[in-house]
């Protein structure tokens, strides 16, 4: 029915899951790189140095305004043209998603830090806290609570957006799906619907779990 049976032919299912694995690998490596960098950039953005703030602001706006696909093309094709680098699609993808994730994460961290009102710092100071103790006992616990649900949402967006990397030749889940549909064009002309439906289910399974976790944490901590 609807061409779903195609999925279970031969190694198709394993290939699709392998594609999902590639997509998840790219996004998880990018997450692992972008979250620590994003935290550092966010702290700098909430700081007082106006030059650093301006530079980071431009960086954030640049990465945000550019469609991710354009960023992928810039890194994958652009670096080859200009510097002669031969980056693989996967490496280009990790670079782009790390840049993007770090920018978004930095904005979340900046927001969380700025959300802590001045009177809390004053209160801590008046109780004899050192600046470091103020961060450990007051600032960080509140920021973490605010950030965990937000960063899970960001991770979900990163996982979804990896579907674009097929455009720079990475064989991830969507590319495998296309290949399967092409290969079965004669025997199962309606396979597109079933196969894409299955791809939808795969993405849903991953992102929905993350999204529920985010909602649960948000509720628990609000």
């Amino acid at each position: 029915m609807w061409g779903i049976e195609v999925i279970f032919k031969g190694k198709n299912l394993i290939r699709l899951l392998g594609g999902l694995g590639t997509a998840l690998e790219i996004s998880l490596i990018a997450v692992a790189i972008s979250i620590p960098i994003g935290i550092i950039l966010g702290i700098l953005m909430a700081g007082r140095n106006p030059v650093i703030k301006a530079i980071l602001r431009v960086y954030l706006d640049f990465v945000r305004i550019m469609p991710q696909l354009v960023l992928l093309f810039l890194v994958f094709f652009g670096t080859t043209k200009v510097w002669g680098w031969d980056l693989s699609g996967e490496v280009s993808a990790v670079i782009v998603f790390s840049m993007w994730g770090a920018a978004e994460m930095s904005d979340l961290v900046r927001g969380a830090l700025n959300a802590i009102p001045q009177h809390q710092y004053e209160s801590a100071q008046s109780l004899g806290f050192t600046p470091l103790q103020t961060k450990i006992y007051i600032v960080i616990p509140q920021c973490v609570r605010r950030l965990i649900p937000l960063s899970i949402n960001l991770i979900t967006r990163m996982v979804k957006t990896t579907s674009l990397v097929l455009m720079i030749g990475v064989v991830e889940v969507l590319k495998v799906a296309q290949q399967i549909i092409e290969a079965n064009r004669m025997s199962a002309p309606n396979a597109a619907f079933g196969v894409y439906l299955f791809v939808f289910a795969l993405y849903f399974a991953v992102c929905f779990v993350l999204s529920i976790a985010a909602r649960k944490l948000e509720k628990k901590w609000s």
Partner: protein, 264 residues
């Protein structure tokens, strides 16, 4: 007898794009040991800045503050932190840690100061008792009313045995009845522990209820200082008269509101 606290020629200027703004200009006053001293003024008069100069949450541009003849402005950061345990401060916002229970909130500053956990908790319990909420030790701040939260904040300050308590609009977020209860608690603390209290407020009712003497602040200048009785009986400056008038208006409003309620 030397005064407990002396502020000498305090000035605070803020540099902004449009030039320098003077938030405090040449303010001097003395507070005696065990006194409850009020500082009243409209918002923007500089009273918050003034109280922050006492524990150096803000550095005055010039002038200095002596507490028991110790010049606060000459202390190093480390000495200042020590001294701040001697100068408690409560705020309009209670600033409790939402993820810790009441007992831990009170005990945390002690633990940070190096007191052992068990000892800190015992002390915390003792002061929760003193502020009248011993039964709330294991509650979380979100489960408390505004008045109870302020009691926790007061217990947290008391736990470090301060000699001076600064109250920055500490009752401004509370309803009139709770305000009276908190003020009664402050007076009780003042008598029981001999803690000198400085209260910042925009409400004459607060001054009237609790203060021994009061200073009136207007546009960063100390325009009048007197005993509360004298100030109410013979206000000398326009600023003081205006503040008294605002309060009368409030009372009248309340009365008319009551009448309206009765009429309807």
């Amino acid at each position: 007898m030397a005064a407990f606290l002396r502020a000498e020629h305090l000035c605070k200027d803020y540099i902004s794009e449009s030039g320098s703004v003077s938030a405090l200009s040449d303010i001097s006053f003395e507070v005696q040991e065990g006194e409850i001293f009020g500082i009243i003024g409209l918002s923007g008069a500089g009273k918050s800045t003034l109280v922050r100069c006492i524990n150096r949450l803000e550095e005055p541009t010039s002038g200095c503050v002596y507490i028991r003849d110790k010049n606060i402005n000459e202390l190093s950061q480390k000495e200042l932190r020590e001294e701040r345990r001697n100068i408690g401060m409560i705020f309009q916002h209670f600033n409790l840690l939402m993820q810790r229970n009441v007992l831990d909130n009170v005990a945390l500053p002690l633990e940070i100061a190096g007191v052992k956990k068990k000892e800190a908790r015992e002390k915390a319990r003792e002061y929760l008792e003193a502020v009248g909420i011993p039964d709330k030790a294991l509650a979380f701040p979100s489960q408390l009313s505004g008045g109870q939260k302020q009691r926790v904040a007061i217990a947290r300050v008391l736990a470090s045995d301060p000699a001076l308590l600064l109250c920055d609009e500490a009752t401004s977020a509370l309803d009139p009845q709770t305000t009276r209860q908190i003020l009664a608690l402050l007076r009780d603390i003042n008598r029981r522990y001999g803690i000198t209290v400085i209260i910042i407020t925009h409400a004459m009712t607060v001054v009237q209820e609790i203060c021994d003497r009061v200073a009136v602040l207007e546009d960063g200048e100390l325009v009048e200082m007197n005993t509360v009785k004298e100030l109410f009986a013979h206000p000398k400056t326009k600023a003081a008269k205006r503040l008294l008038l605002i309060q009368d208006d409030n009372d009248e409003n309340e009365e008319t509101e009551e009448k309206e309620v009765l009429a309807s």
